[in-house]
Protein backbone atom coordinates (compact mmCIF):
# COMPACT_ATOMS: atom_id res chain seq x y z
CA UNK A 1 0.00 0.00 0.00
CA UNK A 2 2.73 2.44 1.02
CA UNK A 3 4.93 1.32 -1.87
CA UNK A 4 2.11 1.76 -4.31
CA UNK A 5 1.40 5.23 -2.95
CA UNK A 6 5.07 6.15 -3.38
CA UNK A 7 5.02 4.94 -6.98
CA UNK A 8 1.76 6.77 -7.46
CA UNK A 9 3.33 10.00 -6.21
CA UNK A 10 6.33 9.54 -8.49
CA UNK A 11 4.07 8.79 -11.44
CA UNK A 12 1.96 11.84 -10.67
CA UNK A 13 5.06 14.01 -10.67
CA UNK A 14 6.23 12.49 -13.93
CA UNK A 15 2.84 12.86 -15.55
CA UNK A 16 2.57 16.45 -14.39
CA UNK A 17 5.83 17.24 -16.12
CA UNK A 18 4.78 15.48 -19.33
CA UNK A 19 1.20 16.41 -20.02
CA UNK A 20 0.13 18.63 -17.21
CA UNK A 21 -1.73 16.08 -15.07
CA UNK A 22 -2.48 12.46 -14.36
CA UNK A 23 -5.05 11.14 -16.84
CA UNK A 24 -6.96 9.67 -13.90
CA UNK A 25 -7.48 13.14 -12.43
CA UNK A 26 -8.57 14.82 -15.65
CA UNK A 27 -12.08 15.88 -14.62
CA UNK A 28 -13.70 16.20 -18.08
CA UNK A 29 -13.13 12.43 -18.54
CA UNK A 30 -15.15 11.58 -15.43
CA UNK A 31 -18.62 11.94 -16.89
CA UNK A 32 -18.28 9.48 -19.81
CA UNK A 33 -16.60 6.93 -17.53
CA UNK A 34 -19.29 7.18 -14.87
CA UNK A 35 -22.08 6.99 -17.43
CA UNK A 36 -20.63 3.97 -19.17
CA UNK A 37 -19.83 2.31 -15.88
CA UNK A 38 -23.47 2.73 -14.89
CA UNK A 39 -24.63 1.35 -18.24
CA UNK A 40 -22.26 -1.64 -18.34
CA UNK A 41 -22.44 -2.60 -14.67
CA UNK A 42 -26.20 -2.12 -14.68
CA UNK A 43 -26.51 -4.35 -17.73
CA UNK A 44 -24.17 -6.92 -16.23
CA UNK A 45 -26.10 -6.99 -12.95
CA UNK A 46 -29.41 -7.23 -14.78
CA UNK A 47 -28.32 -10.06 -17.10
CA UNK A 48 -26.52 -12.03 -14.38
CA UNK A 49 -29.26 -11.75 -11.78
CA UNK A 50 -32.11 -12.44 -14.21
CA UNK A 51 -30.58 -15.01 -16.53
CA UNK A 52 -27.03 -16.31 -16.07
CA UNK A 53 -26.93 -16.96 -12.33
CA UNK A 54 -30.38 -18.61 -12.11
CA UNK A 55 -29.26 -20.96 -14.89
CA UNK A 56 -26.14 -21.96 -12.95
CA UNK A 57 -28.11 -22.22 -9.72
CA UNK A 58 -30.71 -24.40 -11.44
CA UNK A 59 -28.10 -26.91 -12.60
CA UNK A 60 -26.38 -27.03 -9.22
CA UNK A 61 -29.74 -27.29 -7.48
CA UNK A 62 -30.86 -30.04 -9.84
CA UNK A 63 -27.67 -31.99 -9.22
CA UNK A 64 -28.13 -31.66 -5.46
CA UNK A 65 -31.75 -32.77 -5.75
CA UNK A 66 -30.79 -35.69 -7.96
CA UNK A 67 -28.15 -36.88 -5.52
CA UNK A 68 -30.61 -36.45 -2.65
CA UNK A 69 -33.26 -38.37 -4.58
CA UNK A 70 -30.85 -41.18 -5.34
CA UNK A 71 -29.78 -41.35 -1.73
CA UNK A 72 -33.41 -41.43 -0.62
CA UNK A 73 -34.17 -44.16 -3.14
CA UNK A 74 -31.20 -46.18 -1.92
CA UNK A 75 -32.39 -45.69 1.65
CA UNK A 76 -35.88 -46.84 0.72
CA UNK A 77 -34.54 -49.93 -1.06
CA UNK A 78 -32.37 -50.73 1.92
CA UNK A 79 -35.40 -50.51 4.18
CA UNK A 80 -37.34 -52.79 1.87
CA UNK A 81 -34.53 -55.30 1.80
CA UNK A 82 -34.41 -55.32 5.57
CA UNK A 83 -38.16 -55.80 5.72
CA UNK A 84 -38.00 -58.67 3.25
CA UNK A 85 -35.17 -60.25 5.20
CA UNK A 86 -37.13 -59.98 8.44
CA UNK A 87 -40.20 -61.51 6.76
CA UNK A 88 -38.06 -64.32 5.38
CA UNK A 89 -36.59 -65.04 8.77
CA UNK A 90 -40.01 -64.99 10.40
CA UNK A 91 -41.31 -67.38 7.73
CA UNK A 92 -38.32 -69.62 8.24
CA UNK A 93 -38.86 -69.74 11.98
CA UNK A 94 -42.56 -70.54 11.47
CA UNK A 95 -41.74 -73.28 8.99
CA UNK A 96 -39.17 -74.67 11.37
CA UNK A 97 -41.76 -74.69 14.15
CA UNK A 98 -44.29 -76.40 11.88
CA UNK A 99 -41.76 -78.99 10.80
CA UNK A 100 -40.98 -79.67 14.47
CA UNK A 101 -44.60 -80.14 15.38
CA UNK A 102 -45.18 -82.39 12.38
CA UNK A 103 -42.18 -84.49 13.34
CA UNK A 104 -43.41 -84.72 16.93
CA UNK A 105 -46.89 -85.71 15.80
CA UNK A 106 -45.53 -88.35 13.47
CA UNK A 107 -43.28 -89.67 16.16
CA UNK A 108 -46.16 -89.86 18.64
CA UNK A 109 -48.43 -91.54 16.11
CA UNK A 110 -45.78 -94.06 15.18
CA UNK A 111 -45.04 -94.76 18.81
CA UNK A 112 -48.74 -95.30 19.49
CA UNK A 113 -48.98 -97.64 16.52
CA UNK A 114 -45.96 -99.54 17.62
CA UNK A 115 -47.40 -99.85 21.12
CA UNK A 116 -50.69 -101.08 19.74
CA UNK A 117 -48.93 -103.55 17.47
CA UNK A 118 -46.79 -104.76 20.31
CA UNK A 119 -49.84 -105.20 22.52
CA UNK A 120 -51.54 -107.20 19.78
CA UNK A 121 -48.51 -109.33 19.21
CA UNK A 122 -48.16 -109.84 22.95
CA UNK A 123 -51.75 -110.96 23.27
CA UNK A 124 -51.33 -113.27 20.31
CA UNK A 125 -48.20 -114.74 21.74
CA UNK A 126 -49.90 -115.12 25.08
CA UNK A 127 -52.81 -116.89 23.42
CA UNK A 128 -50.46 -119.19 21.58
CA UNK A 129 -48.50 -119.75 24.74
CA UNK A 130 -51.62 -120.69 26.64
CA UNK A 131 -52.68 -122.92 23.80
CA UNK A 132 -49.33 -124.59 23.75
CA UNK A 133 -49.30 -125.01 27.51
CA UNK A 134 -52.73 -126.54 27.32
CA UNK A 135 -51.58 -128.91 24.61
CA UNK A 136 -48.50 -129.76 26.55
CA UNK A 137 -50.66 -130.50 29.59
CA UNK A 138 -52.91 -132.73 27.48
CA UNK A 139 -49.98 -134.52 25.94
CA UNK A 140 -48.42 -134.90 29.37
CA UNK A 141 -51.54 -136.48 30.86
CA UNK A 142 -51.93 -138.64 27.76
CA UNK A 143 -48.34 -139.69 28.00
CA UNK A 144 -48.73 -140.47 31.70
CA UNK A 145 -51.77 -142.59 30.85
CA UNK A 146 -49.74 -144.45 28.30
CA UNK A 147 -46.96 -144.99 30.86
CA UNK A 148 -49.32 -147.18 32.91
CA UNK A 149 -50.22 -149.16 29.85
CA UNK A 150 -46.61 -149.64 28.84
CA UNK A 151 -45.70 -150.62 32.37
CA UNK A 152 -48.47 -153.22 32.44
CA UNK A 153 -47.39 -154.65 29.13
CA UNK A 154 -43.79 -154.60 30.18
CA UNK A 155 -44.61 -156.21 33.48
CA UNK A 156 -46.67 -158.94 31.68
CA UNK A 157 -43.81 -159.58 29.28
CA UNK A 158 -41.25 -159.69 32.09
CA UNK A 159 -43.34 -162.09 34.16
CA UNK A 160 -43.89 -164.34 31.16
CA UNK A 161 -40.22 -164.45 30.46
CA UNK A 162 -39.33 -165.12 34.05
CA UNK A 163 -41.92 -167.71 35.00
CA UNK A 164 -43.33 -168.66 31.73
CA UNK A 165 -46.85 -167.96 32.87
CA UNK A 166 -49.09 -165.82 30.94
CA UNK A 167 -50.34 -162.90 32.91
CA UNK A 168 -53.44 -161.14 31.73
CA UNK A 169 -53.41 -157.51 31.33
CA UNK A 170 -56.02 -157.15 34.01
CA UNK A 171 -53.89 -158.96 36.52
CA UNK A 172 -50.86 -157.04 35.71
CA UNK A 173 -52.67 -153.75 36.06
CA UNK A 174 -53.97 -154.76 39.38
CA UNK A 175 -50.64 -155.80 40.56
CA UNK A 176 -49.11 -152.58 39.50
CA UNK A 177 -51.71 -150.29 40.94
CA UNK A 178 -50.54 -148.64 44.06
CA UNK A 179 -51.69 -150.34 47.17
CA UNK A 180 -54.30 -148.28 48.79
CA UNK A 181 -53.11 -146.75 52.01
CA UNK A 182 -49.44 -147.02 51.05
Amino acid sequence: MLASLAVLAAATAEATEQSGGLPQLYAPDFAPQLIWLAITFGALYFILSRWSLPRVAEVIEERRDRIQRDLDEADRLKGETEKALAAYEQELAAARGRAGSIARETRDKLAAEVDQERARADSQVNAKLEDAEKRIGQMKSKALAQVNEIATETAGAVVEKLIGAEVSAEEARRALEPVPGE
Binding site: L5, P23, P32, W36, L37, S49, R55, V59, E62, R66
Partner: protein, 237 residues
Protein backbone atom coordinates in the same frame (compact mmCIF):
# COMPACT_ATOMS: atom_id res chain seq x y z
CA UNK B 1 1.18 7.80 -18.50
CA UNK B 2 0.07 7.13 -22.00
CA UNK B 3 -1.53 3.82 -21.04
CA UNK B 4 -4.00 5.54 -18.71
CA UNK B 5 -5.11 8.10 -21.29
CA UNK B 6 -8.81 8.25 -22.13
CA UNK B 7 -9.65 8.51 -25.84
CA UNK B 8 -13.03 9.45 -27.17
CA UNK B 9 -13.90 6.94 -29.86
CA UNK B 10 -17.31 8.46 -30.53
CA UNK B 11 -18.45 11.81 -29.23
CA UNK B 12 -21.81 11.47 -27.55
CA UNK B 13 -24.00 13.61 -25.37
CA UNK B 14 -26.92 12.49 -23.21
CA UNK B 15 -29.05 15.14 -21.46
CA UNK B 16 -26.23 17.59 -21.68
CA UNK B 17 -23.69 15.21 -20.11
CA UNK B 18 -20.62 14.09 -21.96
CA UNK B 19 -21.35 10.38 -22.57
CA UNK B 20 -18.73 9.83 -25.25
CA UNK B 21 -17.86 6.21 -26.01
CA UNK B 22 -14.24 6.08 -24.86
CA UNK B 23 -11.62 3.35 -24.78
CA UNK B 24 -12.65 2.79 -21.15
CA UNK B 25 -16.25 2.31 -22.26
CA UNK B 26 -15.08 -0.14 -24.92
CA UNK B 27 -13.33 -2.35 -22.36
CA UNK B 28 -16.24 -2.15 -19.94
CA UNK B 29 -18.55 -3.36 -22.70
CA UNK B 30 -16.01 -6.02 -23.67
CA UNK B 31 -15.87 -7.25 -20.05
CA UNK B 32 -19.65 -7.54 -19.89
CA UNK B 33 -19.74 -9.38 -23.22
CA UNK B 34 -16.98 -11.75 -22.09
CA UNK B 35 -18.66 -12.49 -18.76
CA UNK B 36 -22.14 -13.02 -20.14
CA UNK B 37 -20.75 -14.92 -23.14
CA UNK B 38 -18.67 -17.18 -20.95
CA UNK B 39 -21.55 -17.96 -18.60
CA UNK B 40 -23.89 -18.56 -21.54
CA UNK B 41 -21.39 -20.78 -23.34
CA UNK B 42 -20.46 -22.76 -20.25
CA UNK B 43 -24.06 -23.42 -19.32
CA UNK B 44 -25.31 -24.40 -22.80
CA UNK B 45 -25.01 -28.09 -21.99
CA UNK B 46 -26.45 -27.70 -18.48
CA UNK B 47 -25.39 -31.28 -17.94
CA UNK B 48 -25.71 -33.08 -14.66
CA UNK B 49 -22.08 -34.11 -14.91
CA UNK B 50 -20.41 -30.78 -15.74
CA UNK B 51 -18.05 -30.34 -18.64
CA UNK B 52 -14.76 -28.56 -17.96
CA UNK B 53 -15.99 -25.11 -18.90
CA UNK B 54 -19.24 -25.68 -17.03
CA UNK B 55 -17.41 -26.63 -13.87
CA UNK B 56 -15.40 -23.38 -14.10
CA UNK B 57 -18.66 -21.42 -14.13
CA UNK B 58 -20.07 -23.54 -11.31
CA UNK B 59 -16.87 -23.22 -9.28
CA UNK B 60 -16.92 -19.42 -9.54
CA UNK B 61 -20.60 -19.46 -8.59
CA UNK B 62 -19.98 -21.68 -5.57
CA UNK B 63 -16.89 -19.68 -4.62
CA UNK B 64 -18.79 -16.40 -4.32
CA UNK B 65 -21.88 -18.11 -2.92
CA UNK B 66 -19.80 -19.66 -0.13
CA UNK B 67 -18.10 -16.33 0.50
CA UNK B 68 -21.47 -14.64 0.95
CA UNK B 69 -22.82 -17.50 3.08
CA UNK B 70 -19.77 -17.54 5.35
CA UNK B 71 -19.56 -13.78 5.82
CA UNK B 72 -23.20 -12.75 5.78
CA UNK B 73 -25.16 -15.97 6.29
CA UNK B 74 -28.19 -17.29 4.48
CA UNK B 75 -29.95 -13.91 4.70
CA UNK B 76 -27.19 -12.44 2.56
CA UNK B 77 -27.89 -14.75 -0.38
CA UNK B 78 -30.46 -12.17 -1.53
CA UNK B 79 -27.55 -9.91 -2.45
CA UNK B 80 -25.49 -12.69 -4.04
CA UNK B 81 -26.08 -11.52 -7.66
CA UNK B 82 -24.76 -8.08 -6.72
CA UNK B 83 -21.62 -9.47 -5.08
CA UNK B 84 -21.05 -11.91 -7.93
CA UNK B 85 -21.43 -9.14 -10.53
CA UNK B 86 -18.94 -6.97 -8.65
CA UNK B 87 -16.41 -9.78 -8.40
CA UNK B 88 -16.47 -10.91 -12.03
CA UNK B 89 -16.64 -7.33 -13.34
CA UNK B 90 -13.56 -6.21 -11.41
CA UNK B 91 -11.74 -9.51 -12.02
CA UNK B 92 -12.27 -9.43 -15.78
CA UNK B 93 -11.42 -5.73 -16.04
CA UNK B 94 -8.19 -6.34 -14.07
CA UNK B 95 -7.25 -9.35 -16.18
CA UNK B 96 -8.02 -7.64 -19.50
CA UNK B 97 -5.64 -4.90 -18.36
CA UNK B 98 -2.83 -7.48 -18.21
CA UNK B 99 -2.91 -7.89 -21.98
CA UNK B 100 -0.49 -5.45 -23.69
CA UNK B 101 -2.03 -2.49 -25.57
CA UNK B 102 -5.31 -2.85 -23.69
CA UNK B 103 -6.75 -0.40 -21.20
CA UNK B 104 -7.17 -1.06 -17.50
CA UNK B 105 -10.52 0.40 -16.51
CA UNK B 106 -9.89 -0.25 -12.81
CA UNK B 107 -6.76 1.91 -12.86
CA UNK B 108 -9.00 4.96 -12.89
CA UNK B 109 -9.94 6.30 -9.47
CA UNK B 110 -13.26 7.61 -10.70
CA UNK B 111 -14.35 4.08 -11.74
CA UNK B 112 -13.21 2.34 -8.57
CA UNK B 113 -14.65 5.14 -6.46
CA UNK B 114 -17.98 4.84 -8.23
CA UNK B 115 -18.02 1.08 -7.57
CA UNK B 116 -17.03 1.58 -3.93
CA UNK B 117 -19.63 4.32 -3.54
CA UNK B 118 -22.21 1.98 -5.03
CA UNK B 119 -21.28 -0.64 -2.44
CA UNK B 120 -21.46 2.00 0.30
CA UNK B 121 -24.87 3.22 -0.80
CA UNK B 122 -26.26 -0.29 -1.23
CA UNK B 123 -24.92 -1.46 2.14
CA UNK B 124 -26.15 1.64 3.98
CA UNK B 125 -29.52 1.34 2.25
CA UNK B 126 -29.85 -2.31 3.26
CA UNK B 127 -28.83 -1.43 6.82
CA UNK B 128 -31.48 1.24 7.23
CA UNK B 129 -34.08 -0.83 5.38
CA UNK B 130 -33.57 -3.82 7.69
CA UNK B 131 -33.01 -2.08 11.02
CA UNK B 132 -34.47 1.40 10.58
CA UNK B 133 -32.78 3.96 12.79
CA UNK B 134 -31.52 1.05 14.89
CA UNK B 135 -28.81 0.75 12.26
CA UNK B 136 -27.16 3.74 13.92
CA UNK B 137 -26.36 1.45 16.88
CA UNK B 138 -23.58 0.18 14.62
CA UNK B 139 -21.60 3.23 15.73
CA UNK B 140 -22.18 2.42 19.41
CA UNK B 141 -20.28 -0.80 20.15
CA UNK B 142 -21.47 -3.02 23.01
CA UNK B 143 -19.56 -3.13 26.27
CA UNK B 144 -17.81 0.23 25.92
CA UNK B 145 -17.90 2.49 29.02
CA UNK B 146 -20.15 5.52 28.59
CA UNK B 147 -17.33 8.00 29.18
CA UNK B 148 -15.50 6.54 26.17
CA UNK B 149 -18.50 7.08 23.88
CA UNK B 150 -17.60 10.63 22.80
CA UNK B 151 -14.34 9.18 21.52
CA UNK B 152 -15.53 5.83 20.15
CA UNK B 153 -18.61 7.00 18.27
CA UNK B 154 -16.79 9.55 16.08
CA UNK B 155 -14.07 6.97 15.37
CA UNK B 156 -16.64 4.39 14.36
CA UNK B 157 -18.47 6.94 12.24
CA UNK B 158 -15.30 8.06 10.46
CA UNK B 159 -14.19 4.48 9.85
CA UNK B 160 -17.61 3.77 8.36
CA UNK B 161 -17.60 6.85 6.15
CA UNK B 162 -14.02 6.25 5.00
CA UNK B 163 -14.92 2.81 3.65
CA UNK B 164 -15.68 3.88 0.05
CA UNK B 165 -12.41 5.82 -0.03
CA UNK B 166 -10.25 2.97 1.27
CA UNK B 167 -12.08 0.45 -0.88
CA UNK B 168 -11.64 2.45 -4.08
CA UNK B 169 -8.09 3.71 -3.46
CA UNK B 170 -6.89 0.17 -2.62
CA UNK B 171 -8.04 -1.19 -5.98
CA UNK B 172 -7.08 1.85 -8.03
CA UNK B 173 -3.63 2.28 -6.47
CA UNK B 174 -2.75 -1.37 -6.82
CA UNK B 175 -3.74 -1.50 -10.46
CA UNK B 176 -2.12 1.77 -11.39
CA UNK B 177 1.07 1.19 -9.41
CA UNK B 178 1.57 -2.23 -10.94
CA UNK B 179 1.11 -1.01 -14.47
CA UNK B 180 3.30 2.03 -13.90
CA UNK B 181 6.04 -0.08 -12.36
CA UNK B 182 5.95 -2.46 -15.34
CA UNK B 183 6.17 0.47 -17.71
CA UNK B 184 9.09 2.05 -15.85
CA UNK B 185 11.11 -1.16 -15.71
CA UNK B 186 10.29 -2.04 -19.31
CA UNK B 187 11.71 1.39 -20.19
CA UNK B 188 14.95 0.46 -18.40
CA UNK B 189 15.28 -2.65 -20.61
CA UNK B 190 15.75 -0.47 -23.67
CA UNK B 191 17.87 2.26 -22.09
CA UNK B 192 20.34 -0.14 -20.39
CA UNK B 193 21.23 -2.00 -23.57
CA UNK B 194 22.94 -5.36 -22.82
CA UNK B 195 22.41 -4.92 -19.09
CA UNK B 196 18.73 -4.56 -19.82
CA UNK B 197 18.49 -8.30 -19.20
CA UNK B 198 18.19 -7.57 -15.47
CA UNK B 199 15.12 -5.32 -15.67
CA UNK B 200 13.75 -7.67 -18.35
CA UNK B 201 13.87 -10.61 -15.94
CA UNK B 202 12.36 -8.42 -13.25
CA UNK B 203 9.59 -7.36 -15.59
CA UNK B 204 8.78 -10.99 -16.41
CA UNK B 205 8.66 -11.92 -12.72
CA UNK B 206 6.66 -8.82 -11.91
CA UNK B 207 4.13 -9.66 -14.61
CA UNK B 208 3.40 -12.89 -12.75
CA UNK B 209 2.99 -10.94 -9.55
CA UNK B 210 0.67 -8.51 -11.32
CA UNK B 211 -1.63 -11.40 -12.30
CA UNK B 212 -1.78 -12.37 -8.64
CA UNK B 213 -2.54 -8.76 -7.71
CA UNK B 214 -5.24 -8.53 -10.38
CA UNK B 215 -7.04 -11.59 -8.96
CA UNK B 216 -6.32 -10.74 -5.33
CA UNK B 217 -7.65 -7.18 -5.57
CA UNK B 218 -10.90 -8.38 -7.12
CA UNK B 219 -11.13 -10.89 -4.28
CA UNK B 220 -10.37 -8.31 -1.58
CA UNK B 221 -12.92 -5.88 -2.98
CA UNK B 222 -15.54 -8.64 -2.89
CA UNK B 223 -14.65 -9.91 0.59
CA UNK B 224 -14.80 -6.38 2.01
CA UNK B 225 -18.17 -5.90 0.33
CA UNK B 226 -19.35 -9.09 2.06
CA UNK B 227 -18.04 -7.87 5.42
CA UNK B 228 -19.84 -4.54 5.00
CA UNK B 229 -22.97 -6.42 3.98
CA UNK B 230 -22.68 -8.47 7.15
CA UNK B 231 -22.72 -5.27 9.22
CA UNK B 232 -25.84 -4.14 7.40
CA UNK B 233 -27.68 -7.46 7.48
CA UNK B 234 -26.74 -8.85 10.89
CA UNK B 235 -25.32 -5.83 12.76
CA UNK B 236 -22.82 -8.08 14.54
CA UNK B 237 -19.98 -5.89 15.45
Amino acid sequence: MHQFQIYRLTELEILGFDASFTNASLFMVLAVVLIVGFLALSMTGRSLVPTRIQSVAELSYEFIANMVRENVGQAGMKYFPFVFSLFVFILVLNLIGMIPYTFTVTSHIIVTFALAALVFVVVTGIGFARHGFGYLRLFVPDGVPVWLMPLIVPIELISYLIRPVSLSVRLFANMMAGHTMLKVFAGFVVSLGVFGIAPLLFTIAFTGLEFVVAILQAFIFTVLTCIYLNDAVNMHH
